[in-house]
Amino acid sequence: MAELNPYIPFLSEITEVIKHTEIEYTFRMTYTGDVKPGQFFEVSLPKFGEAPISVSGIGDGTVDLTIRKVGKVTDEIFENYVGDTLFLRGPYGNGFDIENYKGKEILLVAGGTGLSPVKGIVDYFSAHPDDCKSFTLLVGFKSPKDMLFKKDFEEWEKNIKVVLTVDYPDDDYSGNCGLVTHYIPELLVKDLKEAVGIVVGPPVMMKCVISDLLAKGFFEENLWISQERKMCCGIGKCGHCKIDDTYICLDGPVFNYTKGKFLKD
């Protein structure tokens, strides 16, 4: 057998489980090999099926998968992860290339679980703040209960500018409220020709944020997005993720906006 069978998953050990909310946990999985933020693995559970999950963190011999419990496969992961292992295949997709952002003013806008695929970028620049001119993280969650990566925020706030907001505050909450778009006008950008915007979240959120950033004067070629579509293979075969001549699983999920704006389902 010359080529490896790309459909057969491998076993990966769960080294740690970080619980963010009732339905969102990060599973730290053993993995050695090249991997980039924004790439994804197919979590592949015999009997239940597969779910594409973004890499939400990259460690020494590990990758983080932050999983939201929403259905057949993900329910099973939450209920039975005590098994200590998960089957994975991947990583797939292009992912974000940190090199594209080095030396620039970076504005990263994420909505909810959209933070997962870009978290590796935040981690990197939080650890290497000198590698960019400035880094602003603008994140919105539905409510304080939905916040992910609380521990990481504490760390990030030491090194980069963080603006955190929630749509629906509760009684104990004292921070920013409202949609992320509310906070875009007040962000100062020194050099719009160079400034990079990275935007990931639900489709409507991405649309609004992109339009605000363009209005603010960001250049299309400096904006980056990540797309989610149904995926059954992750390797350009099953067809489900295709939009026009683009396979999201192969050519994406990360797109420069000059290309991303033409993706019409």
Partner: protein, 337 residues
């Protein structure tokens, strides 16, 4: 090499080859069609040339030989995966010129677009293709418009006229078996014109994606997916896990044919879906066949076999759609000037 031989001789050769190959060809299944009391012609195993339906177009294509309707990828227990065995024998497939071009489209997706597909490759590598000629065009064919009416890319060409068989072989094993047969100059029958002619617009601007043009299809299409299933160039699938009830821990993962016309094709968790409108699904399919596939891979995906038009229970014509779309594209361009 070209040869003239007899059906009896060919049948002995095939009997011999059947030690190593399963032989697939279009066969007539009586009273089994889409419409009541109509036969269906689809692929099945044969042992004798007389079983092959040469006179009519097959309703289904050969693709199921390389991409079974449901294919087991691997067997699993809780902690182990075992790749499903490949068939012990190779395959010999009888097919027409357009379908041979269809094979290239399948190759492109399964061997070139991303990782090599293990399951496709292992079948493909052990399959021989035998061309069946076309003396005249069938209904709804538009191979000439698509440039697929001839192909040299066969392992053999076979023409059966009563007891006489003409063979053009590109296959050493067959040449060896036919040593001693009368040499002949054999050129595959092919058509030079079809009644159906399509003109494909060079580019389809994105502004036409949600043109009212597609609404008519939205109203008529019942999302049955038959057009996809008969199409030799439709290659999509969905994964399916099956487990054996007598042992809840063991089971298998399969892939099964999927259709971009059928509900659920784009469904994601949380109820997100794209192209809920059936007209938009038609647009997605049509532009994949004659627009975006070419932009990505250099040739049109559609090979002009007309099977989608033959099968549609709502009498939706893909060929008409292309022509009407071409008119729409031209009219829109004129308006803009």
């Amino acid at each position: 090499m070209g040869y003239q031989t007899t059906a009896a001789k060919m049948n002995t050769i095939f009997a011999d080859l059947s030690k190593d190959y399963l032989i697939y060809a279009p066969k007539r299944y009586v009273g089994d069609g889409t419409f009541v009391h109509i036969d269906t012609i689809r692929y099945g195993e044969i042992t004798d040339l007389s079983e092959i339906e040469f006179a009519e177009k097959s309703n289904y294509s050969f693709k199921e030989v390389l991409l079974p309707i449901s294919e087991t990828l691997f067997y699993f227990t809780e902690n182990e995966m075992k790749e499903a065995d490949a068939p012990k024998k190779g395959a010999i497939v009888f097919l027409r010129s357009c379908d041979l071009h269809g094979l290239k489209r399948m190759d492109t997706i399964y061997l070139e677009n991303g990782a090599v597909d293990t399951y496709y490759k292992r079948l493909r590598d052990n399959t021989k293709f035998i061309l069946m000629g076309c003396e005249s065009s069938f209904e709804n064919c538009f191979c000439v418009s698509m440039g697929t009416q001839t192909s040299d890319d066969y392992d053999a060409y076979l023409k059966v006229t009563g007891e006489t068989v003409l063979v053009d072989s590109h296959w050493d094993a067959l040449d060896a078996a036919l040593a001693g047969a009368t040499p002949a100059s054999v050129i595959p029958d092919s058509v030079t014109a079809n009644e159906t002619v399509v003109t494909i617009p060079e580019t389809v601007p994105q502004t036409l994606f949600d043109d009212p043009f597609w609404e008519d299809y939205g109203n008529r299409c019942i999302a049955c997916g038959r057009c996809n299933f008969v199409c030799p160039t439709c290659t999509c699938f969905t994964m399916q896990d099956i487990f054996y009830t007598d042992n809840g821990k063991a089971g298998e993962r399969r892939r099964v044919w999927a259709s971009c016309h059928i509900d659920g094709y784009t469904d994601m968790a949380g109820g997100h879906a794209f192209r809920n409108d059936k007209g938009q699904r038609m647009r997605f399919k049509v532009l994949h066949k004659v627009n975006d596939y070419k932009r990505r891979f250099g040739t049109h995906m559609c090979i002009g076999c007309g099977r989608c038009d033959d099968v549609c229970p709502e009498y939706i014509s893909f060929a008409n759609c292309i022509n009407k779309l071409n008119t729409l594209v031209n009219d829109t361009a004129k308006e803009e000037n």
